[in-house]
């Protein structure tokens, strides 16, 4: 036999082809289709988000017009790069996430541990915006729980806000939401640990217990029906009217991000969101911790109280790592200033809640 024929015959078996693993195939096609297929449009500034405090200024000035219900285009972490058009639908992303979630091993332990960071903006009466950054951790057992939280900083949100604060004489205490007073804190405080005996510890449109979570249905339609038992056509935080999709999104984002549910229930939650027509995909983004993910979003109305005519519109985003089948963060961005976001520029990242770690452990503080 000549050497080339020998070589042909000696091709290792695993290099001869065979079908692609279906999950790999799905993940790779999803990744490919998340790529833009055309030259990005010029002259359109990208929205910066998932940002650290230092770049918060960028969020305020790099405002783009976000159309409610459409999928705005986001190119995170690279403010100078033109936005990338995204072709992947929210449904596709969520179905991939569901498949990945199902693959995750069921874990066990005595305490459900969650560690997270959050940042929110608050316009103050003194005429500028402050940001409040917090870090928190919780350990939740069947009958008792521990929580640790600390404020990392309370300070002017952007350089412009800092200038306004200094111009006002750098007051150490500010007023927001009409009358609440809040002290400026430039450095992180010590963690404050609390302990409580309680069973109802998670929120699903109502307070629920660990065992309530265990009995959630693992079928998307049944899960939806189960959750909707507590939907009364209004906001979870007030009596303002709230659409069913927006309500389900709000309740489910908590379930997905930081609750101890089984891989099957998690998958059902992703599939249920996949079927909500008003959920859109924003494509690849980076969360506040710098992790890449895909953002799906829904529009939400913001008003201080029912009947308030100065309504604002927010875009609520859930950043998911669809290959890992988990959520990384939830964020909200001002689309139309008003309500709690009156005075903020469109495009401003109003709040971020970043999940750093979730899992079972046998230890508590």
């Amino acid at each position: 036999m000549n050497p080339m024929e020998e070589l042909r015959a000696a091709r290792p078996a695993h290099l001869t082809g065979g079908p692609v693993d279906p999950r790999t195939r799905q993940a790779e096609l999803v990744h490919a289709f998340a790529q833009p297929t055309q030259v990005p449009r010029r002259g359109r500034k990208a929205l910066t988000w998932g940002l650290g405090l230092a770049s918060a200024a960028a969020a305020a000035v790099t405002a783009v017009a976000l159309a409610v219900g459409s999928a705005p285009v986001v190119s995170p972490g690279a403010p100078d790069v033109a936005a990338e058009p995204v072709t992947l639908s929210a449904r596709e992303v969520l179905l991939v996430a569901a498949t990945s979630a199902e693959r995750r091993p069921a874990e066990a332990g005595d305490y459900w541990h969650v560690s997270s960071r959050s940042r929110g903006l608050h316009p103050v009466n003194e005429g500028f915006v402050i940001s409040i950054e917090q870090e928190s951790e919780s350990w939740v057992g069947a009958e008792e729980q521990w929580g640790s939280s600390r404020t990392l900083a309370v300070k002017p949100a952007t350089d412009a806000d800092r200038a306004a604060w200094e111009k006002a004489g750098s007051p150490r205490e500010l007023t927001f939401a009409g009358r609440k007073r809040i002290p400026i804190k430039e450095s992180a405080e010590q963690p404050h640990i609390r302990h409580a005996r309680a069973q109802e510890i998670f929120w699903l449109g109502r307070n629920v217990t660990m065992s309530d979570l265990r009995s959630l249905p693992a079928d998307p339609a049944a899960l939806k029906a189960d959750l909707l038992r507590f939907y009364e056509g209004k906001d979870t935080e007030s009596d303002a009217p709230m659409a069913e999709d927006a309500w389900l999104f709000r309740v489910t984002e908590g379930l997905i991000t930081d609750m101890p549910v089984s891989p099957e229930v998690l998958a059902a939650a992703f599939r249920m969101l996949a079927d909500l027509p008003s959920v859109t995909s924003l494509g690849r983004v980076t969360d506040a911790a710098g992790r890449p993910g895909t953002a799906i979003a829904i529009a939400d109305i913001s008003q201080r109280k029912p009947g308030d005519t100065a309504k604002g519109v927010l875009q609520v985003r859930l950043i998911i790592d669809e290959k890992a089948g988990r959520a990384l963060a939830r964020e909200s961005v001002v689309v139309k200033p008003g309500g709690l976001q009156a005075g903020l520029e469109p495009g401003t990242v109003w709040s971020t809640h970043t999940i750093l770690e979730t899992g079972w452990t046998d230890e508590h503080p």
């Binding site: 091709r11 692609v20 096609l29 490919a32």
Partner: protein
């Protein structure tokens, strides 16, 4: 799904495993999925430039991705590990000829091995293989000729030390 997406998916299904096999034969299994995923992401981005005969073009993209994203040292380690796996897996077959030719492949340079893989394992014509490497067809023929000669020489030298080879692997 648009018709572009359907066409792309068909091409993906036809070519994916061959692109993977090429990457494995260049840098080993560990990085292969990552490189293949990136290759098809770029392919979708440049879908309007993809020729009808997609495989050589895709292999060329994969080649660039490998060069740009995987360090030369990691590629070398990856392929060494991979070739050890080829040889040990085939020990079970007790087919001395296959062992010999794989062992000979392991002794070639990366460039020589790549040329032989494209022709013998990917089944590319010299014209298509030249496209992957980005060289002219005559230049490819010369390189192929040299690589075959080197393979033959290594094979012959291994034949002489056959008993040692088997010992070495057991």
């Amino acid at each position: 799904m648009t018709s572009d997406r359907e066409r792309f998916t068909t091409i993906y299904d036809e070519c994916r495993q061959r692109v993977w096999a090429y990457v494995v034969s260049r840098a080993g299994r560990q990085v292969a999925d990552e490189v293949v995923s990136e290759t098809f992401a770029i392919a979708w981005r440049k879908f309007d430039q993809m020729p009808r005969n997609a495989l050589p073009w895709l292999l060329g993209v994969a080649r660039n991705v490998l060069r740009d994203t995987i360090r030369a040292e990691a590629r070398r380690e990856g392929i060494q590990r991979e070739m050890r796996a080829w040889i040990t897996a085939d020990v079970a077959d007790h087919v001395a000829e296959r062992l010999g030719v794989l062992k000979a492949m392991a002794r070639l340079s990366q460039d020589e091995r790549e040329i032989l893989v494209l022709v013998a394992w990917q089944g590319l014509s010299p014209k298509d293989a030249a496209k992957v490497l980005g060289c002219s067809v005559p230049a490819f023929r010369v390189r192929l000729h040299r690589a075959r000669k080197r393979l033959r020489a290594e094979l012959e030298s291994l034949m002489l030390s056959q008993p040692r080879l088997v010992e070495e692997l057991s």
